[in-house]
Amino acid sequence: MFINEYREAYDKVLPEENSIEHIFEHMQEEQKKVSAVRMLRPVLMCTLMFSLGVFFVTPVMAKNIPAVYSVLEEHAPSLLDYILPEEHVSTKAGITMQVEAVSIVENNAEMVVSFRDEDGFDYINGPVDMYDSYNLACYGGDSNVGGCYFLTYDSEADKAYFKLSLTSLEGEFGGTCEFRVSQLLTEKSVTQQDIDVSNILYAPKLKAIYASGGSGVKREVTNKQFGEEGIFDPRPAYRVMDLGTPSENLIENLKVTGIGYSDGVLSVQFCRGNFSEADRHVDIRLLDGEGNDRIPDGSVGWQEEVAGEPLLFEEQYFLVEEEELEQCKLYGIFYITEGCINGGWKVTFRMSGEVQ
């Protein structure tokens, strides 16, 4: 019978005698490996956690704690380059910001940055402005002071240049500086115009406002009222000229809205329009009878909503005796930048050097 022959034949087919022992030995070896891995696992986990901590926490600490930055700068400059790399070029919103030069002489540093259009964009055609949308921060050096101003527009290279000045109060530079610009204002125009003083309001009606800023001479409100909900508003309050309800024509304008005089103070009020998409500001100057070109003795800025849009108002003050008033002339330097490009450009550069 086939079945008997088949079974008889296959009964002789057997695995090697020690094959099962081989399997057990193999499994024992595997178990040793697994045990070793299990023993090493806590060490590996700790190492991994430590590495991740160093990888993620160190850059943050170096960025925010000058002491950490200094330690890294002294002992691991290459690591510093890695976690806070220099970035001299930043391209966003069709515009490239680039560090053109960095010069450090003693405790003064000057940097030149440029803005240029990327292919297919046409924003930079003349003077541009970043007004107060820039920020210059230095890691590892809290004692640096500086500023930024427009340098020139190179029509041939089609680039606008800005100069950053930085002074170290501690005498030596160190660390990395980061220069951020959130908005660039183009289509900038600067004009100087005389301001008509023939319609001065004497002893104008005043109103109280909450100010967004102010300096020097101003009419303070000492008996501030609590709000409707009984909560005291911490914003500073001042009195400014009440010139009635603002016109909607002011939304996209930079315009002197009124001039008043009372108690030895000449007030010039102007509206800067909606500030969200354009920058308009004016520097008021007073030429007195002796030919002095005077800057304001004080100013107050505030916001008012007109037709649902936020408008910026400002009043600038000159201390003038009444008998001198007739001999005074006013003029303003009007700055208007209509194009506003939101970019968020950021460049970084290493600072190094010591006072000679």
């Binding site: 088949y6 008889e8 034949a9 002789k12 099962i20 081989h22 399997i23 193999h26």
Partner: protein, 161 residues
Amino acid sequence: MHRESFCADDEKSTIKKYSNMVYRLAYSLLKTRCDADDIHQEVFIKYLSRRPVFENEQHAKAWFIRVTVNMCKNFWKSAWRQRVIALEDFRDEATQEAKASELIETVKLLPQKYRVVIHLFYYEEMNVEEIAQILGLKSSNVRTQLTRARRKLKEMLKEDI
């Protein structure tokens, strides 16, 4: 130091119990002892790694058969398996193969799908329904394969099956 045994006694006895069955099935499918050795080892390593809980003996037997068949099917799919047998090994293997009965050599000439059903039917004494369940086939397919395998063997062996 006492170390927990990787293999409990009941697992050892299970391995011993199904060792021959797995080896014979692997041999019937792969035709050489060398390959059967590999599959034999892999099946039990898999068993010890996964440690499946069997409801009864039938369940255990079905699990080992199913795993063995699957491993044999995948055996030649892996490129690294296409190894070259050293000459000495080949001689040893050839000598052993010569000892195998002529009947087994004849059955080896059948296609693999027929060898599976022949082995499970005649050696493991499983019925068609059980074979169909383990191999995931319809009973009618198993019956057909068994009939065709028998017909081929009849032609080759010149005797009734």
